[in-house]
């Protein structure tokens, strides 16, 4: 049983009803931790509920109307339909954006974990400069997309950009590609830049998690005859799975923020190769004044993300940590 359940049951049992009379029950109910802990969880719940779920619900209602232009919609049941959702089905822009969004949520998250892990392993094996290099990798995390978007526009410049300059210097001219221009590379380039920005976060959590693995496991593997790579691959990395899950959740949140990066670099029109639902929603609503359609995209995005996160929640629930 997890520690938390123990805490729960202690606190719960500590003053749950023991008296059997009605009066006593009410009294002890009022004294129960459920009631007494209310001041702790109720205000944040209300605030979060109002803004987040109120907003989501409102957004959903808008998606049922025909709201466009700059005339406020009439919220009447008779106006409600799912037209915007059917429209989505036939919209090639939506298909492209949905595909890219899923790719970003899944592939970017995985890559980010991978890079974070590699960085963590490297930093963990340093004898010196650990803390300074750790800070270096974490620095981009502090910056806003408005800034990093511009940086990467330069980095990717096929002529004067750092990336291609580097490849040319290394004699790998074949790899000096048109990163943002070539539609088939664009999304990958976006992910790479995002990894640069968020890899440090993954690294820092992985580092923390690596520290919890007893030194004996490395030594046992060594004595067992495993080399450096086998030790990590077979012994260490599998033990990081729960850290990976929790990093993945946060990284997925970040991947939704790719909106700001794309918006900085491509405006509201990254093209089908890199369009994502967040950008499309903004474009549709705030450039084309098609609020209802934008709202519908927003609802789909939220539900879709939730579906991707559900396995995580279930995993947490199974482990009794929800």
């Amino acid at each position: 049983m997890s520690a938390i359940n123990k805490i729960k049951s202690t606190l719960e049992n500590g003053s749950s009803p023991e008296e059997h009379s009605k009066e006593g029950r009410i009294r002890s109910y009022l004294r129960s931790d459920f009631i007494r802990s209310m001041p702790f969880w109720l205000p944040p719940t209300l605030l979060m509920g109002l803004f987040v779920y109120g907003g989501i619900f409102w957004n959903f209602v808008i998606s049922l109307t025909d709201f466009s232009g700059v005339v406020r919609p009439e919220y009447a049941l008779s106006n409600f339909d799912f037209e915007m959702y059917t429209r989505m089905l036939g919209d090639p822009s939506f298909h492209a954006a949905a595909r890219n969004t899923i790719l970003l949520l899944v592939v970017f998250t995985l890559l980010c974990l991978l890079v974070g892990l590699l960085l963590a392993i490297l930093v963990d094996n340093l004898l010196k400069w650990q803390s300074i290099l750790r800070t270096v990798f974490l620095l981009p995390f502090a910056l806003s997309f408005v800034v990093t978007g511009v940086f990467w526009q330069w980095m990717y410049n096929p002529e004067i950009g750092t990336i291609n300059t580097m490849f040319n210097l290394l004699g790998l001219d074949a790899l000096a590609l048109n990163w943002l221009g070539n539609p088939s590379l664009r999304l990958g380039a976006v992910m790479f830049a995002l990894i640069w920005q968020y890899g440090g976060y993954a690294m820092i959590i992985y580092l923390a998690s690596l520290r919890t693995i007893p030194q004996e496991h490395y030594e046992a593997a060594k004595v067992d005859g495993a080399g450096f790579f086998v030790t990590y691959w077979k012994v260490i990395i599998p033990q990081l799975s729960s850290a990976s899950v929790s990093i993945a959740v946060v990284i997925m949140v970040f991947s939704l923020k790719a909106f700001a990066w794309l918006y900085t670099v491509f405006g509201s029109n990254p093209g089908p190769a890199a369009d994502i639902l967040g950008v499309m929603m903004y474009r549709v609503a705030f450039s084309a004044n098609q609020w209802a359609y934008g709202a519908a995209i927003g609802s789909v995005l939220f539900v879709g993300t939730v579906m991707i996160v559900t396995p995580y929640l279930y995993y947490q629930y199974k482990r009794g940590e929800l």
């Binding site: 496991h217 030594e219 046992a220 004595v223 067992d224 033990q239």
Partner: protein
């Protein structure tokens, strides 16, 4: 299976600017198939010695040889030593079978089938065939311990290295595992170095005990040698539970005097002491004879301060009468003995059972008369 030689092995750690000498000029020979226990207080360098054999620490000076061939500089993989860690260090994400197979996969060319067969065999030996598909987290402490052993055994190593493998178990289980480990080692006949700070483990399990203190070897010998003929005060105090009683005396010819009493020794004993005047008298609690009242010349009148009952025996904390001293002499009496805190009794140190040490160097000057008794019933 091999013999192992420590040749003046020294290990220094750099700690900032200072140097820590963890092991100092350790020399000993461990015979093929022997079960050697290294014992000593915390920080005395036991683990470090073991890890040098495993190849997890480098050797600063001296040499280590297996079957006469130096293993200095070889990587752990090349040493064919198997290690059991105090924390077990089982890989939590692998099943028991995978844990046990891992070393074989990494360091041998055996086919999966052979590995499977071997693991099954060892599983049988250790009586854990039904656990093979579980994860370590689903096992009890004792079962984990067994798996950790299995992981070492399965590799059929030249040397077993065990670092306090039983210290995470509770008393009962520890006693069981002790016997089992011993039986297994005998069966397999693999040269074994076993590290512990628990002298009971050292006594009961080992062929020979190596006692270390402050990085230095104090004594190496069979349990009985170490118990009955400790080289010095340290060994005398460390081996045996409860500890040997030590009494500081000044000697004048055949008289050992303390503030509380005088103790006359025989001439032959006195001769063994040569010219030493600063003497520590050592006597084990079970050798202290408690009598209803002092009758013989050397008997001392004492008060029973505390009675610690263990069932079969009681430990009496005896304080010389009319003394404020808190330094009690512990004497063991039969568990059925009617004696209570506050009683006044006599305490006797039979001369044939006393140890005498040089008070300055701590070196043993005289051991009890070596007497191996014929079978006599135990009168606890």
């Amino acid at each position: 299976m091999a013999n192992l030689t420590f040749d003046e092995v020294t290990k220094k750690f750099r700690d900032g600017n200072s140097e820590i000498v963890a092991v100092e000029e350790l020399s000993m020979e461990i015979n093929d198939g022997e079960f050697l226990v290294i014992v000593g207080p915390s920080g005395c360098g036991k683990t470090t010695s073991l890890r040098m054999v495993a190849g997890l620490e480098t050797i600063t000076e001296g040499d280590l040889r297996i079957e006469g061939r130096s293993i200095k500089g070889r990587s752990p993989q090349e040493r064919n030593a198997a290690m059991v860690f105090q924390s077990y260090a089982l890989y939590p994400h692998m099943s028991v079978r995978e844990n046990m197979s891992f070393g074989l996969k990494q360091s041998t060319d055996l086919s999966s089938d052979e590995i499977r067969k071997r693991v099954d065999e060892i599983g049988d030996v250790l009586d854990i065939p039904e656990l093979l598909d579980r994860k370590p987290d689903d096992l009890s402490g004792g079962q984990q311990q067994r798996v950790a052993l299995g992981r070492a055994i399965v590799r059929d190593p030249d040397v077993f290295l065990m670092d306090e493998p039983l210290s995470n178990l509770d008393a009962k289980l520890r006693a069981d595992m002790r016997t089992e480990l011993q039986r297994l080692q005998e069966e397999l006949g693999v040269t074994t170095i076993y590290v512990t700070h628990d002298q009971t483990e050292a006594m009961t399990m080992s062929d020979r005990i190596a006692i270390m203190n402050n990085g230095k070897l104090q004594q190496i010998g069979t349990p009985m040698e170490c118990y009955y003929e400790p080289n010095n005060i340290f060994v005398g105090g460390f081996i045996g539970e409860p500890s040997m009683n030590f009494i500081n005396c000044s000697r004048d010819a055949q008289t050992l005097s303390t503030d509380d009493f005088d103790y006359e020794i025989s001439e032959s004993t006195a001769m063994e002491l040569e010219s030493a005047t600063n003497i520590v008298l050592g006597i084990r609690p079970e050798d202290v004879v408690v009598v209803p009242e002092p009758t013989e010349p050397n008997d001392i009148a004492v008060e029973v301060d505390v009675v610690e009952p263990f069932g079969k025996e009681n430990n009496l904390y005896l304080i010389p009468r009319d003394r404020e001293s808190n330094e009690a002499v512990i004497g063991t009496v039969n568990g059925r003995t009617r004696v209570e805190s506050g009683d006044t009794v006599g305490m006797r140190f039979p001369e044939e059972h006393i140890h005498l040490f040089d008070g300055n160097s701590g070196v043993a000057l005289r051991h009890p008369v070596a007497e191996q008794e014929e079978l006599t019933p135990f009168v606890g």
